[in-house]
């Protein structure tokens, strides 16, 4: 039995789904957001909220740069409890080889019109006196920022609803239908288009989707205002630490508006347990202490784990589901979903409404992974049996 028809159903009210809902509602579409649980309670709530331009490849750089620009432009609209702060990033170099890497990064950023500057060890120590005296220097990227993702996500969803979108909580989708969805309670909803923005859960709707949960752990301390002033990330972050399949850690320290320090980071493909892995947490904190020795004496308040939705090539899935007319994907951002949310949402909304796109969408096209498509009827049957 079908009731109201919507222009668009968005599955998932994390930061990506919320941003997509807002971008589409702004274009006049009648949007329904279906959230399996409560909004922004998955990967969005587990992340750090570092708005950062990453440069592993041109497509990642383009999307994260566009995302950061959009957050910068909208930062004045954000509620104060979204804790947006333009603290910038310091990419920390532990030796001269890493200073060479910092210079490579600076030159690349410059090509893309992004401002950054190399800091010598002594200048770095003036900016962040609590860092290890052994560091060779850093690359400062002043435009990067931080925010508190659950609040930013809720704000985007509220904007969408203000523009006419509707939200249904506790409404898990059981199956995709041609032109709509079936909820777990058996009811069906129809829409001209459907966007799947359900993070790791997207794979339950599209079996075979090339998406793997990548576990990450964070720890937050009590309040130590002034101890750190910039987001601190080791330069080996991508290149040496998080590039491969094995469990890895990298120093990543964020000063929160409250004076608390948020400490990461870890990546694990092969641990589906949402509980903390204590040995890995210890390795992670030891790594962070190498860079910020004073950490060892601070009081920790809480640690937790989350799961990033990761694709094989580390680029998101943004675009039409191959072979399923009117069905779109917006997920697979791994650790960059907060940074790129506004860019990913705009790109998808542009494609969905046949507007010219700001960015070249091809690198993010889900069709680049050819083999996982399953016809919607087959999916519905699998899920109901």
């Amino acid at each position: 039995m079908r009731q109201v028809s919507y222009d668009l159903i968005v599955i998932g009210a994390g930061i990506i789904g919320s941003a997509v809902a807002e971008s589409c509602a702004r274009r006049g579409l009648h949007v329904l957001v279906l959230e399996a649980g409560i909004p922004a309670a998955g990967t969005t709530a587990a992340g750090m909220g570092h708005l950062v331009v990453l440069d592993d490849n041109p497509a990642e750089l383009a999307l994260s740069q566009d995302g950061l620009r959009r957050w910068q432009a909208r930062s004045v609209e954000l509620p104060s409890h979204a804790e947006y702060r333009a603290c910038g990033t310091l990419w920390l170099a532990s030796d001269t080889a890493e200073m060479d890497e910092a210079e490579r990064k600076r030159a690349l950023y410059q090509q893309y019109g992004l401002q950054s500057q190399l800091l010598t060890g002594s200048v770095l120590r003036q900016l962040e006196p609590n860092l290890s005296p052994h560091l060779a220097g850093a690359l400062q990227v002043p435009g990067d920022a931080v925010l508190y993702p659950p609040v930013a996500s809720a704000w985007l969803l509220a904007q969408a609803c203000h523009l006419g979108a509707e939200l249904r909580r506790h409404s898990p989708v059981q199956a995709l239908l041609p032109q709509g969805v079936q909820l777990r309670d058996g009811s069906e909803l129809s829409a001209g288009q459907v966007v799947i923005a359900a993070g790791n859960a997207s794979a339950t709707l599209l079996p075979g989707l090339p998406l793997k949960p990548r576990k990450g752990q964070l720890l937050i301390t009590d309040r130590y205002p002034g101890m750190v002033r910039h987001q601190l990330v080791e330069l080996g972050y991508i290149r040496s630490a998080h590039g491969g399949e094995a469990d890895s850690v990298a120093c990543n320290i964020q000063p929160r508006a409250t004076g608390q320090l948020l400490i990461g980071s870890s990546r694990q493909y092969h641990d589906a347990d949402p509980a903390i892995s204590w040995p890995l947490l210890q390795t992670m904190l030891t790594r962070a202490c190498d860079y910020l020795p004073g950490l060892a004496t601070l009081q920790a308040l809480r640690s937790w784990a989350g799961f990033r939705p990761a694709t094989p090539d580390k680029l998101p899935l943004l675009g039409p589901v191959p072979g399923q007319t009117g069905c779109w994907l917006a997920t697979g951002h791994e650790g960059l979903g907060i940074t790129t949310a506004l860019a990913s949402a705009e790109l998808l909304a542009q494609m969905l409404t046949n507007e010219p796109t700001t960015l070249d969408p091809r690198p993010y096209d889900p069709a680049r992974f050819g083999s996982w498509q399953t016809p919607p009827q087959a999916v519905a049957m699998e899920l109901t049996t």
């Binding site: 009590d222 130590y224 004496t297 009081q299």
Partner: protein
């Protein structure tokens, strides 16, 4: 046996073996984020209301620490 501790610059003589929270009594020792007064409450390390700076180290739970001679305590109460 008595030990001397220094609380916000004032010498206090207390029995050894006493927890710092007991030594401080029922007085306010900190302010909440919203500025309300806070004092030791649960006495068993759970509520975190008795956090003080002990020998230069902030956010120590006074109820979980025994006094020692020469201990220097700072609090916001």
């Amino acid at each position: 046996m008595k030990v001397n501790i220094l609380v916000n610059g004032v010498v206090l003589s207390v029995a050894s073996g006493t927890t710092l929270a007991s030594a401080l009594g029922a007085c306010a020792v900190r302010h909440s984020v919203q500025g309300q007064s806070r004092a030791p409450y649960c006495g068993m390390g759970v509520c975190f209301e008795c956090r003080v700076t002990i020998d230069g180290r902030p956010y120590q739970r006074a109820c979980q620490v025994l006094v020692h001679d020469g201990m220097e305590v700072r609090h916001e109460g």
